[in-house]
């Protein structure tokens, strides 16, 4: 027998909270604040610097919350690539990973070149390079390659070494910037007249802030590298979210304090300062920060050069790490050649991905103009963050019950929606800064789409989270749009229980039927063993077909999945089903669920009418009880009851319970929904009970009936988990056959249909 077992190397878990936070900080405090501050003051005025970083800090915090939630639930190398794969599937995830790799690599090239430029200038100032026979540009390129190779080697040595070296560099630059800020505050206290430098605060108006925010947003991109450490972090569910929040908070504070210090560093009327200090600083643009700091303290120029060296090297270290993990993840899933996923057995690092990243990084650093490519990297990062904010919404809506979260954001989905809007605006404004960036973006995306369609699509491995069709038989297409009813069948007994109700509803709606069996393959078993679990489902489908196939157009589908609820909701969306009918055993064992871990998510997320049946069997319903209180699903419950009640001798009793505070008029309710009632009004009676114990009253009344039809609660899930609603209490405790009805419609159904 062939031995299919393989020994695969894994990344080692060596990174604690401190080095991860420092890696995030290192990627953020790269060159953005040094180059961006002077430009911000030039474009928006003296208040522009601080306002830009404060507002960007808020947007960055929102996106950090999305990253924190996702990275705590999916702590794996790959970051945005993994999130897009879970949320949207392989195609989108490949594009996300493809952009992630390129953006980080190009940013790394920029930092290598920035380091080289400052070092060459410094050495030239000391007269050290006079014996070198090359031009300044060639010297810069050679030094950029040397520093890139050095940090590629550091990354090869392992995550621990990477983290330690990066942490030292980052700590140095952060302490220097904080020192500048403290000196600035000290100077302002000593000489309050310098606060006049902030007047006028925004001489060119508030709209200029959009330009400066877009330009400097790259200074907040560090959470991507933190997400990439998912495979190597110690206690990732706790440490990754913390590191993201700490790093965003620290850089925001640092940037604001440094912006303040830059403005108060220059005294009006001092030698060499012409005009207002803010205008004097701004006219130096990228060098404005340096010119101001050189006047703040002795040896300011030297210290600034030192800080830029620290900043560019730590950012280079972090971007190499991030880009390598992004390409490693693509190789691991066979989206790129599996060569990318090779791991050094000695160092436990992805050496092949590192080598390829290094090759692209050095090529870009030596060949391409840096500023326009850096702008392209910014747009790619904005696009990535935009995507991640959509992913966090989609994954929370679809997979919240399956993932183990280490953090969840408050006020979901307000913050990601605000971040999406803001990032779209900032990306658009970047057009004004670099047209080439908006050429590079579509070119890179199109090349990614090409690679996916001609290579990755046919080689990518199927992940545990995907749902696959095993067998499918389609009914002939009818004319026009037919009402479609989906019936998930678990086994023959379950099929017999729900077939009569399905028959009556299909008859009333003139519907076509889709019989579905989801094969739940346990996590421990390989997906290839799905056949072993599908026998009962096949028998159930055959049983249901015996009754339904002669009368209605009927299709059957068998799919395997890891999670039944997600599989059914996915099928409902895909088939654009109008109504879902399914059985429920009537018990719930899982903490936090009202009707069970399968039924709750299906009711909440299915964008169609849902009918849940409990103990229905093949009975005839002569007396049907419909408790009503005017809720959003009451009309649908009444409609279903009128379909199921016996036409000749059936009777519906509308039961209302009142404690005198909220008057509900059943007659008016029936008048408003007359078109939905398929039974003579003479056969509908009204009964009212006066008590505040609503659930008990319904349970007591239901004992004399053949069927209870309940409208599902209209409360969102967040309120449902807080306490049981009346329909859920009745549903669990009732011994009478019971049907729960939830109508499609409204904004929530629309969201679930499209997101």
């Amino acid at each position: 027998m062939e031995d299919k077992s393989t020994v695969s190397a894994e990344l080692s878990r060596e990174l604690g909270l401190f080095p991860i936070t420092m890696m995030g900080l290192g990627m953020m405090i790269g060159a953005g604040v040094f180059l961006g501050l002077g430009n911000s003051i030039f474009i928006a005025g003296p208040g522009g610097g601080m306002l830009t970083f404060a507002l960007n800090g808020v947007i960055a915090m929102f996106t950090a919350m999305s990253y924190a939630e996702l990275s705590s639930a999916i702590p794996r190398a790959g970051g945005a690539y993994n999130y897009a794969r879970l949320a949207f599937g392989r195609g989108t995830s490949f594009i996300a990973g493809w952009m992630e790799w390129f953006a980080s690599t190009v940013a790394g090239s920029l930092y290598a070149v920035t380091f080289a430029i400052y070092m060459v200038r410094y050495f030239e100032g000391l007269g050290i390079l006079t014996w070198v026979p090359f031009s300044t540009v060639i010297n810069e390129k050679i030094l950029a390659v040397i520093i890139a190779c050095f940090f590629l080697y550091i990354n090869y040595k392992g995550a621990s070494t990477t983290g330690k070296v990066g942490a030292i560099c980052t700590l140095g630059q952060t302490l220097f910037l904080v020192f500048i800020g403290l000196v600035g505050i000290f100077v302002a206290i000593k000489d309050p007249s310098r606060l006049q430098n902030f007047s006028p605060f925004l001489p060119y108006g508030w709209s200029k802030l959009l330009v400066t925010m877009g330009f400097t947003y790259v200074a907040f991109e560090g959470y991507e590298v933190i997400a990439q450490t998912g495979d190597e972090a110690i206690d990732p569910r706790r440490n990754l979210p913390k590191a993201m929040f700490y790093s965003v908070y620290i850089v925001t504070l640092t940037y604001i304090v440094v912006s303040f210090a830059t403005l108060v560093a220059v005294k009006a009327g001092s030698p060499g300062v012409v005009g207002a200090p803010w205008f004097w600083i701004g006219q130096f643009k990228e060098r404005g920060f340096g010119e101001a700091v050189s006047r703040l303290m002795p040896a300011g120029n030297f210290l600034l050069t030192l800080a830029v060296i620290f900043a560019s090297t730590s950012a280079l270290n972090a971007t190499i790490y991030s880009a390598t993990r992004a390409s490693y993840a693509l190789g691991r899933d066979h989206m790129l050649p599996s060569f990318f996923a090779k791991i050094s057995k000695k160092r436990k690092t992805p050496w092949a991905a590192l080598m390829m990243t290094g090759a692209v990084l050095i090529l870009v650093a030596t060949v391409l103009p840096t500023m326009d490519v850096a702008s392209s990297a910014s747009i790619l990062f904005l696009f990535l963050f935009f995507l991640v904010n959509i992913c966090v919404i989609k994954i929370r809506l679809n997979m919240a019950d399956e993932l183990t979260y280490g953090y969840i954001m408050p006020f979901f989905p307000v913050f990601p929606v605000i971040a999406i809007i803001c990032q779209a605006v900032l990306a658009v404004w970047l057009v004004h800064m670099s047209l080439i960036a908006w050429i590079v973006l579509p070119v890179w995306i199109c090349s990614g789409i090409g690679i996916y369609h001609f290579y990755s699509k046919y080689r990518a491995v199927t992940t545990e989270d995907e749902i696959q069709i095993l067998e499918e038989e389609k009914a002939p297409e009818g004319e026009g749009k037919e009402y479609s009813i989906m019936v998930p069948v678990a086994n023959p007994k379950n099929a017999l229980d729900i077939v009569r109700t399905t028959y009556m509803l299909c008859g009333a709606k003139k519907a076509r039927v889709e019989l579905l069996h989801m094969v739940p393959v346990p996590d421990q078993a390989p997906l290839t063993s799905a056949d072993e679990y599908m026998l009962e489902g096949k028998e159930g489908i055959v049983e249901a077909m015996l009754y339904l196939a002669p009368l209605f157009p009927l299709s059957t589908t068998i799919r395997y999945c890891r999670n039944i609820a997600r599989g059914i909701v996915s099928a409902v969306r895909e088939k654009k089903t109008d109504m879902l009918i399914m059985g429920w055993h009537g018990k719930t064992k899982t903490y936090g669920f009202n009707l069970g871990s399968t039924v709750d998510p299906i009711i909440e997320r299915s964008p169609c009418n849902v009918v849940i049946l409990k103990n229905i069997g093949r009975r005839k319903f002569k007396k049907v009880l419909v408790p009503l209180a005017g809720g959003p699903n009451g009309a649908f419950a009444l409609e279903i009851a009128s379909i199921l009640a016996e036409k000749d001798d059936g009777q519906i009793v509308i039961f209302t319970v009142t404690d005198g505070r909220k008057p509900f008029d059943p007659n008016q309710f029936m008048d408003e929904h007359q078109d939905k009632i398929n039974l003579s009004r003479k056969k509908i009676a009204i009964k009212t009970a006066h008590t505040h114990k609503v659930a008990q009253a319904i349970l007591k009344e239901s004992k004399n009936y053949d069927l209870i039809v309940l409208g599902y609660t209209g409360r969102p899930m967040i309120y449902q988990v807080a306490g049981n609603s009346i329909p859920e209490i009745v549903a669990r405790r009732s011994t009478t056959p019971l049907l729960i009805a939830k109508a499609a419609g409204g904004i929530r159904s629309w969201i679930h249909r499209w997101i």
Partner: protein, 52 residues
């Protein structure tokens, strides 16, 4: 100080206060989830509600 300046300083202070609040809230949420070994969104929400 002009009106833009007053508004600007208020916005900066508000932004700092807001992200400080989000940081503290998020930190306590991470610790709470970890200490109580909560897993799914439902468990976390139910626990949040019961803890009030």
């Amino acid at each position: 100080m002009d009106a833009d300046g007053i508004a600007g300083w208020i916005i900066i202070a508000a932004a700092l206060g807001f992200i400080t609040y989000l940081l503290i809230w998020s930190h306590s949420m991470i610790e709470r989830i970890a200490n109580k070994k909560l897993r799914s969104i439902r468990e976390i929400m139910k626990n949040l509600h019961n803890g009030r």
